[in-house]
């Protein structure tokens, strides 16, 4: 009998377009610190030799809109286009290409989610990437060699799924991985946040206090602390801070403490920027 799959690692990273689009505008040392952290995450990721990556992020009205906005969605495609347009590719300085998908693992995850009494949307194809995946994966997997199962969490329009629900969704992902045999070694990557304001008067502000407190909770590995947020508390760090839900999903998939590889408050990128890796 074949061995069942294992979640062998988890990573989180910010996905501000500035990280790849205009890295040099950050203050001296910040670009280097963030890129070194990404390089360390990439080194750890490669060492894990994953068969597939469950990639969790929001999407910024690139595919979904207010006529159909899933709280959670699981994609089961063979491949994904990113960045979505040539203009966005130029803006992000990421070459437009197709990212490989692990369709079998995606279908399994979708079915397992329903059997586990979660109700994500099914996205069989046509899901295009924006900065959500294109920015972090330019650093984490520049050759796009690892097949992805994209999972989208609504982080862009209220009301949002609760932090606890996001964490539980992550726990379900791990059980799903352990209930199949095709993808033996699976990594979960969450991207988004930390504090930032999109399209709002406060844009360019960073709430470093919020960010550092969130990262301390992440390092502790205590799910009760990590998910103990009200909507108003997250609002204090901007509408973009609601993307921390993607980190909560990834944290739930491993239920472990994390190493914070970098934190930099970068107003020029409009974002509190961090990269973290599960301490497994």
């Amino acid at each position: 009998m074949s061995r069942t799959g294992t979640v062998v690692g988890a990573f989180m990273a910010s996905h501000s377009p500035g990280i790849t689009g205009w890295p040099e505008r950050a203050q001296p040392g910040q670009q280097e610190a963030v890129e070194q952290a990404y390089a360390e995450a990439r080194r750890r990721l490669d060492e894990l030799e994953p068969d597939a990556i469950v990639a969790v992020s929001v999407e910024h009205f690139t595919n979904f809109h207010l006529g159909n906005l899933p709280a959670f969605a699981i994609a089961t495609g063979d491949s994904y286009l990113g960045p979505v347009t040539a203009e966005m590719a130029s803006f992000l300085r990421v070459e437009q290409h197709r990212y490989p998908g692990d369709a079998a693992l995606g279908r399994h995850l979708y079915e397992f989610a329903l059997e586990s009494e979660f109700d994500p949307s099914l996205v069989e194809g046509g899901l295009d990437f924006d900065e959500n995946f294109c920015v972090p994966f330019k650093h984490l997997d520049p050759e796009s060699k690892y097949p992805l199962v994209p999972v989208i969490v609504n982080g862009v329009n209220p009301p949002w799924p609760t932090p606890k629900r996001c964490y539980e969704f992550g726990r379900m992902i791990r059980r799903a991985v352990e209930a199949q045999t095709q993808a033996q070694r699976v990594v979960v990557v969450g991207t988004g946040g930390l504090s930032h304001w999109v399209g709002l008067p406060e844009s360019g502000n960073i709430n470093a206090e919020f960010d550092r407190d969130f990262l301390a909770r992440l390092e502790s590995g205590d799910p009760a602390r990590l998910t103990d947020y009200t909507r108003a508390e997250i609002d204090e760090a901007g509408n973009g801070a609601h993307e921390i839900r993607t980190w909560l999903v990834a944290a739930g998939a491993v239920e472990s403490p994390f190493d914070v590889l970098v934190y930099e408050a970068v107003p020029e990128w409009l974002t509190g920027t961090s990269v973290a890796a599960a301490r497994l």
């Binding site: 009205f61 809109h65 207010l66 862009v156 999109v198 399209g199 709002l200 008067p201 844009s203 509408n239």
Partner: protein
């Protein structure tokens, strides 16, 4: 409000809608059934009022970029510094 959200999204996603909106905004606003205050606020790019009435700021910002509104001007408008 949904009609305006849909128009903002279509301008972001569909170059043909954007081009037509730039050429003949009234005809496009008619098609989407956007009337009254919403129509006035959209035509005058009153992002601050649109946001305060519940329009999603991501969609406002992305649509502004598509309409070649300068980023600094967008933020001046959302802050109410330009009317």
């Amino acid at each position: 409000m949904y009609a305006l959200h849909k128009l903002l999204w279509d301008i972001r996603r569909d170059g043909a809608v954007k081009a037509r909106y730039v050429e003949e905004p009234d005809a496009v606003l008619d098609e989407y059934g956007i009337e009254g205050d919403w129509r006035h606020l959209m035509k005058t790019l009153d992002f601050k009022a649109l946001y305060e009435r519940g329009i999603n700021p991501y969609l406002l910002y992305f649509c502004a970029i598509q309409l070649q509104v300068d980023r600094a001007e967008y933020y001046a408008r959302i802050r109410g510094e330009v009317n």
